[in-house]
């Protein structure tokens, strides 16, 4: 599932730390970027690579909100529902997004393009309400703007 290139990148990441276990988060990121999410197989691979017990990889991975253990859409939308965004209408926007995508949080749209999740503050409160689509941030959202943004992610 994960190839030698991934192995190599994990090894390189480990060189930055005095103890290879520190490369666990980088490794989770690398594998997730590769696979879209982190299946058990990937975690076993990382455990083996870094000589960390599998249980620790699992325990650590499940601690972090951005590590996904279930398959996601091709594009992942993370929409903020913290206070600054809520004050400026995040909830109706989340409703809009749900209706528009026709799926619940964490589910994947039928065409496989999107899944969405609520997220705590993403540090875009100057552009609230805001959301991340993959690595891109989109602020000052309105229902129309959400529709337009989604068009840009085939």
């Amino acid at each position: 599932m994960l190839n030698d290139d991934v192995r190599e990148r994990i090894r390189l990441a480990a060189l930055r730390y005095p103890d290879s276990r520190a490369a666990l988060l980088p490794a989770l990121h690398i594998a997730q970027a590769e696979l879209g999410h982190l299946p058990d197989e990937a975690m076993r691979f990382i455990a083996e690579e870094l000589n960390v017990p599998e249980s620790d990889v699992y325990g650590t991975a499940t601690f972090y909100s951005l590590i996904r253990r279930r398959p996601s859409g091709k594009h992942v939308i993370s929409i903020c529902h913290n206070l600054p965004c809520t004050l400026l209408g995040a909830e109706p926007l989340i409703d809009h997004l749900r209706t528009r995508l026709g799926v619940e949080e964490g589910e994947v749209t039928a065409d496989g393009r999107f899944s969405y999740q609520r997220i705590e503050c993403i540090g875009r409160c100057d552009g609230a309400p805001a959301m991340l689509v993959d690595d891109d941030c989109h602020g000052d959202l309105t229902p129309e703007k959400i529709d337009a943004v989604l068009e840009r992610y085939p």
Binding site: L28, F63, S78
Partner: protein
């Protein structure tokens, strides 16, 4: 001082940054002895901008004095406090300012290895920082024998993965070591036994960004700006019901009114100021009547709140205070690490009660219940997260009890007073994660 290059186009490029003065303080610092650099920072009176306001020079001194080696310097770029985005502005707009600050800090404390712990929600900043670090290596500002002075400093970015608690410095260190981000016992303090058990300095992005100015200007000139006990400028992040939300660098001690009216353009169209959270989610709320408070460490403490991270969340008369508190409680419930009983169970319980109220299921005595739960938590949690979690509850009840009474008395909020903040049956109690867990549980059954 901090945002001067942010407005310059392409300031993330090292040549542009250098043309505008970046890294000039490194050579100046290298001409001083490390202890003198620490003394200079001590004299400047710089206090940490991450939330706790600990004197930076003193922290450096502890780590520098510890004979253990190696030592580590960590920049806390986890910026998770809701309403805070000042570090992002520096990271994306002027990464070389931070790197310069770190080079000087590392020299002062004797650290040859540094990490920037960057929150996972800042992917763009990660890319920019990686590029900026590579450029700095290219110019001989990082690595071995920096500027030919025989100093070594290696620096890299370590990306978090979505956990507010990892902003707390000991959790951050656990997370850096590849573990669950649960806070560690103190003592020992990171300055003596931090990352991998070695002396470690953890400083906020903005704190480190102040260092080049202190060295370049000298501590005397630096501390002329600011307020008594709070020298320097501060980047305030104004969000919520204002006309121009954004990050504004002002001298510490500027009044809240000035910040909201002059900088952020006042309250949005036709509305009135109702409440302010002055320093991020874990700082107690203030009412409109307190708008003349000075924004510095001591004045805010005196006003019953805290400077925190400088995240000013402004609420106008459309805001429902019960809902506002509920949203913050939901945040703390989601972010509690789960280690200690009061925070883990208390935030969960608070969250359940608020959810019920917002869904129209309020019961008589709920206000007392909320206060009671806060009482079980306050002063008893392992780390400040749990202590912060009770602040929105206690302060909103203290300042807006009538609103709670209306909400609860009518079996739920009518929604009349909080137009923008629809709630009711859609208020989310469960998240995708909790569903994921039930899937896991099923695999436990034979």
């Amino acid at each position: 001082m901090l945002l001067k290059r942010v407005k310059i186009p392409r300031a993330a490029d090292i040549d542009v940054a250098v043309a505008h003065g970046a890294y000039s303080a490194v050579a100046a610092a290298y001409d001083m002895r490390p202890l003198d650099v620490i003394d200079e920072v001590k004299r400047s009176g710089l206090r940490g901008r991450g939330g706790a306001g600990f004197p930076t020079g003193a922290k450096w001194g502890f780590a520098a004095m510890d004979p253990k080696r190696p030592k580590y310097l960590i920049c806390n770029a986890d910026e998770g406090e809701p309403g805070t985005f000042k570090d992002r502005i520096i990271l994306e707009g002027d990464p070389h300012l931070l790197i310069e600050g770190m080079i000087i800090a590392a020299y002062a404390v004797g650290a040859e290895r540094g990490y920037i712990y960057l929150r996972g929600e800042y992917p763009a900043a990660a890319e920019l920082l990686d590029g900026a670090i590579a450029q700095a290596y290219g110019k001989g500002l990082l690595g071995n024998n920096i500027l030919g002075k025989g100093v070594t400093f290696e620096l890299s970015v370590h990306r978090g993965a979505g956990a507010y608690i990892c902003g707390e410095e000991t959790s951050l260190i656990e997370s850096l070591e590849g573990k669950r981000g649960q806070p560690r016992l103190r003592p020992p303090f990171p300055a003596n036994a931090g990352a991998w058990g070695k002396p470690t300095v953890v400083n906020n992005v903005e704190t480190l960004a102040n260092v080049p100015s202190i060295i370049a200007l000298g501590s005397d000139a630096y501390s002329k700006v600011g307020a008594e006990g709070s020298p320097g400028t501060k980047i305030f992040c104004v969000s919520g019901a204002v006309n121009r939300p954004g990050a504004y660098e002002l001298p510490l001690g500027t009044t809240l009114r000035e910040l909201i009216e002059a900088s952020a353009g006042g309250i949005r169209a036709g509305r009135r100021l109702k409440a302010i959270i002055p320093g991020g989610a874990s700082t107690p709320m203030l009412t409109a009547a307190q708008v003349d408070v000075k924004m510095d460490f001591n004045s805010l403490l005196a006003a019953g709140s805290m400077l925190g991270s400088g995240a000013v969340i402004v609420m106008d008369d459309t805001a429902c205070m019960v809902h506002a508190a509920a949203v913050l409680v939901r945040f703390f419930e989601h972010e509690s690490c789960g280690k200690c009983t009061p925070c883990r169970e208390g935030t969960g319980w608070l969250h359940q009660v608020y959810s019920r109220i917002l869904k129209g299921g309020a019961r008589g005595g709920d206000i007392e219940l909320l206060l009671n739960i806060c009482g079980k938590m306050k002063g008893k949690c392992f780390c400040p997260l749990g202590e912060g979690a009770v602040q929105p509850v206690l302060s909103s009840i203290r300042l807006f009890r009538d609103e709670y009474e209306r909400c609860i008395g009518k079996n739920g909020c009518s929604g009349a007073s909080c137009k923008g903040m629809t709630h009711g049956k859609n208020y989310q109690m469960t998240s995708a994660e909790s569903r994921a867990i039930s899937n896991d549980q099923n695999s436990n059954t034979p």
